[in-house]
């Protein structure tokens, strides 16, 4: 049986577009981030941060929908 993760013309993760992130998933992501960094975020802050993260998530889906293949290098910052 073939491995479904190895299929597709480029075998890249992005050959399968990300499904849209639901608001509930964005809220979970935000809650995890706030907890991971121990941010004492108040309710109003969370609401504002949610709207920004919603926008970021949509931007990420847009960016990752562009299939660059497996061999595309990220832009380097570090130079040895």
């Amino acid at each position: 049986m073939s491995d479904p993760t190895m299929s597709g013309p480029t075998m890249s993760n992005s050959s399968t577009p990300l499904p849209p992130l639901s608001d509930a998933a964005v809220a979970e992501l935000l809650a995890a981030g706030i907890a991971a960094f121990a941010i004492p975020a108040e309710g109003a802050w969370r609401a504002e941060a949610f709207s920004y993260l919603r926008t970021i998530a949509d931007a990420a889906q847009f960016v990752l929908a562009h299939d660059l293949g497996d061999e595309a290098e990220p832009a380097a910052v570090f130079r040895p």
Binding site: I39, R46, A60, V63, L64, A75
Partner: protein
């Protein structure tokens, strides 16, 4: 009848171009001290209106001017920026002051032990620092508004934004408080205030000028550069600031490539096109009219499609949010109430970004760079709007672009973000379409070709198509 005092006689130099000041100081027509006194008097009189300065370093400036005058009196040589007053966005370290970076929190830092590298470079050319300038908190801003220090006001209409995040830099130049200022540009923070304030700005190639001893925002995207009211002054300052600096690990090893020798070379042989597609949408008519005005002045009729600009902007947005959040995570945990709420809540959102989103954006960055470099096989320079509109009113939070209501704060940079995403050099040039406020155009060149962007900007200035007058306040 009493003769005019040296300071009174120097008053016209307070608003003179840097090149004229330097020539006069070198030639002995005016002392550096008299120029500094004239500038300090103008700042004292007018800055309360525009709120550009957060620190005025008068004692230091007077001491520098006196030392320069003494050197000249002793027959010593003076540099290309002799006696030219300048000021810097307050994220540049100024020895003896905390580097506030537009924040309340950083004011509790110990005073900087050293000057920023670019301050040192300008002083080596005999320019004279007169102060630190207002900015949006931690540079996460396009408006020039600041809840701690008050907004930088647009000198051409005080009810309007100066633009950000280098709002004080734009306001100081447009108000004629200094002939030269420095700022930073991560996503547009030199080009947006240049556009709204009607002045010239240069965002050099990413990695060209040292960022040592400046407060960062997004290391992957941060640039530093100059503002001025003439292209010649931009070029003078830029040439003085070039050169390798071992204190900046991101700076790219390049030889010093002066732009002054080719500044007046004109347009012969240059292939120029207007950016279409993404750069002809989501703007108010004046944004496109300004580009058309510049294109007509240059005789440009070609339009070229910049591929994937929207995705480039989205990628810059992700990287900015993630890196900015990483930088400020500790302060968000310990002093969240001391942030500007509009900055804090965006940074909190950035803490939740999955690493894979950032890696994907960095992969796209390389791809977009390759596409743009291919475009530069066909053209030498690309023209695009700098902002989607003229200066919004202070406090304005939304505007309507192509029938869509959008937030002002992040979207003033919608045309600048895709360009700085891959570090291309850009000269912002100011266009005055009518009796209203100015609006800028980006003159975009290939990597390391600041000379081309400035050469086109100078041609436009010389032919009267663009200009940066001192405001009437």
């Amino acid at each position: 009848m009493n003769a005019a005092s040296p300071v009174d006689a120097a008053a016209p130099f307070a608003t003179a171009p840097a090149a004229d000041i330097a020539a006069a100081v070198r030639g002995g027509q005016v002392s550096a001290r008299a120029v500094v006194e004239a500038v300090l008097a103008r700042i004292a009189a007018l800055d309360p209106k525009v709120n550009a300065f957060t620190d005025v370093t008068g004692a230091r400036a007077r001491a520098s001017a006196d030392a320069l005058d003494a050197r000249r009196a002793a027959g010593g040589a003076l540099g290309p920026l002799a006696g030219v007053p300048f000021a810097v966005k307050n994220l540049f370290d100024i020895a003896g002051l905390p580097t506030r970076a537009g924040s309340k929190i950083n004011r509790d830092l110990p005073p900087a032990a050293h000057d920023a590298a670019l301050i040192a470079r300008l002083e080596e050319a005999d320019a004279i620092l007169v102060g630190g300038l207002n900015m949006g908190e931690y540079a996460y801003d396009f408006t020039g508004e600041n809840v701690h220090d008050g907004a930088s006001r647009n000198p051409h209409d005080l009810a309007h934004m100066a633009g950000g995040s280098s709002g004080g830099s734009g306001a100081a130049i447009a108000a004629g408080l200094v002939p030269l200022a420095l700022g930073s540009d991560t996503n547009g923070s030199i080009r947006v205030p240049s556009s709204l304030c009607g002045i010239f700005g240069l965002k050099p190639t990413y990695g060209r000028l040292s960022r040592a001893h400046s407060f960062p925002f997004v290391s992957a995207l941060d640039h530093l550069g100059p503002f001025a009211r003439s292209v010649g002054d931009l070029a003078l300052a830029y040439d003085a600031m070039q050169g390798a600096d071992p204190d900046d690990p991101v700076q790219v090893p390049r030889p010093v490539e002066p732009v002054m020798p080719t500044l007046e070379a004109g347009m012969d042989g240059l292939r120029i096109a207007v950016a279409g597609g993404y750069f002809r949408a989501k703007g108010m008519p004046e944004a496109f009219a300004a580009v058309d005005h510049v294109a007509a002045a240059l005789g440009v009729t070609r339009t070229i499609e910049v591929p994937e600009a929207a995705r480039a902007r989205a990628s810059a947005y992700i990287i900015t949010a993630a890196e900015g959040a990483s930088l400020h995570a500790g302060r968000l945990r310990t002093r969240p109430q001391d942030f500007d709420p509009a900055v804090r809540d965006r940074l909190i959102a950035g803490l939740a970004i999955p690493a894979a989103w950032v890696a994907g954006a960095q992969r796209f960055r390389r791809h977009f760079r390759d596409r743009m470099l291919a475009l530069f096989d066909e053209v030498d320079v690309i023209l695009a709007p700098a902002t989607p509109c003229r200066a919004p009113q202070l406090g304005q939070t939304t505007f309507e672009l192509d029938g869509e209501t959008l937030l002002v704060r992040p979207n003033l940079g919608l045309y600048t973000q895709p360009i700085s995403f891959i570090g291309l050099p850009v000269a912002a040039v100011p266009v005055w379409l009518d009796g209203g406020l100015p609006i800028g155009v980006q003159v975009i060149a290939p990597p390391w070709r600041e000379d081309l962007a400035l050469r086109v900007a100078r041609h436009l200035e010389a032919t009267g198509a663009v200009r940066a007058p001192v405001s009437n306040i």
